[in-house]
């Protein structure tokens, strides 16, 4: 499985491949060219989107870390014991939206638009995976997961 390693054979930094999905996809294509072999299966999500769906606080290259450092997940207590009760009473989805907003770097403000902004972010991640999926479908290479 190649995600962040794509930068190395493509002679890019981690900061470069975190710039956009396009930067990462180009690096991944270049990576397989340098290796000289097409993959049997690909991981279709760029590393920045991986940090979004991990649902943890994160330190990013170029922002909190050096340009060529691997992103870091920060394990800290961001869910309290009281949150179990909120999930039981209101469901996981209702809890997840403000939770995801609070762990963003920087955090997303909690207001009437929070749910919309988080949902939109999930959809945008899905659309980027969809774009990558279309590219690899053309090459007849399957994906580890779909969108």
């Amino acid at each position: 499985m190649i995600v962040t390693y794509a930068a190395v054979p493509a002679e890019k930094t981690q900061a470069d491949i975190f710039k956009s999905n396009k930067h990462w996809l180009h690096a991944l294509i270049k990576c397989y060219e340098v290796i000289g072999c097409a993959p049997d299966i690909v991981f279709p999500m760029n590393p920045k989107d991986v940090t979004f769906i991990e649902q943890m606080k994160v330190r990013l290259p170029d922002k909190d870390l050096g340009d060529n450092e691997l992103f870091q997940l920060i394990e800290e207590e961001i869910m309290t014991q009281a949150d179990y009760k909120i999930i039981i009473d209101n469901g996981f989805a209702a809890w997840q939206i403000p939770f995801v907003a609070s762990i963003q770097n920087p955090p997303i403000k909690q207001n009437k638009l929070t749910a919309l902004r988080i949902t939109l972010k999930f959809i945008q991640v899905g659309m980027r995976v969809g774009k990558n999926q279309k590219y690899w479908n053309k090459c007849e290479i399957p994906m580890k997961f779909h969108t």
Binding site: D40, M56, E75, E76, Q81, Y84, G91, F92, G126, M143
Partner: protein, 206 residues
């Protein structure tokens, strides 16, 4: 009916999300001090998690389930049986029933947990292992039950020679000969992997 927007099919069991978000230490106290509360939250969350994937998944798709915190690197088999497996099983069964293949990203030590996967319907999921799990024993346990994927170690990719890499890949090819096996790296190829070793991995089935 499917929604018209795309959502990535990437998810995690409630148990794993809680373990990460509470921190490992706190979560262990929760399991011992408030077991019913944790189980009730997992029970309530799991259908929501499944339904999020169902919003856009269709038959033939794959969904990645990141379940590293359910491994024996973090919890005992007894804890797995009571708190993690029931909900992971619920996810696998729900996806399998709809023709969606779950790919369980199973970093960490999974050998003590693999017997539970023998109880799932045959060929209902793919279990992606890293080198913390003995892949030979895993194959023995799951052959004919579930497909496994793995597990060229990161340390061989980074510090081994081409010959070391080839030797490990030969072992994986041997394991793959009778099916139910996908050859790959254990988790991700590390940033310090030697290019020549990655080439050996990529070409080992040719």
């Amino acid at each position: 009916m499917r929604n018209s927007y795309e959502v990535p099919h990437v998810t995690a069991p409630a148990f794993d999300t809680f373990s990460l978000s509470r921190r490992m230490g706190n979560f262990c106290y929760d399991i011992f001090n408030e077991p019913d509360l944790v189980k009730a939250a997992c029970e309530r969350a799991t259908p929501d998690i499944i339904n999020t994937v169902f919003k856009s998944a269709k038959r033939g798709d794959r969904v990645a389930i990141f379940a590293m915190r359910s491994s024996a690197s973090f919890i005992s088999p007894d804890m797995f049986e009571k708190f993690a497996f029931p909900y992971l099983k619920q996810m696998v069964l729900a996806f399998h029933e709809k023709g969606i293949t779950p790919v369980i990203h199973a970093d960490g030590k999974w050998l003590p947990m693999l017997r539970y996967f023998q109880k799932l319907p045959p060929k209902s999921c793919i279990i992606a292992l890293d080198d913390s799990t003995d892949i030979v024993k895993a194959k023995e346990m799951l052959h004919g039950h579930q497909c496994i994927r793995g597990n060229l170690p990161a340390n061989i990719l980074a510090f081994g020679t081409e010959r070391d890499t080839q030797a490990y890949c030969d072992k994986l090819v041997e394991l793959a000969m009778d099916g139910g096996f996908i050859i790959g790296s254990g988790c991700e190829v590390p940033l310090n992997a030697k290019l020549e070793n990655v080439r050996v991995l990529m070409n080992c089935t040719k």
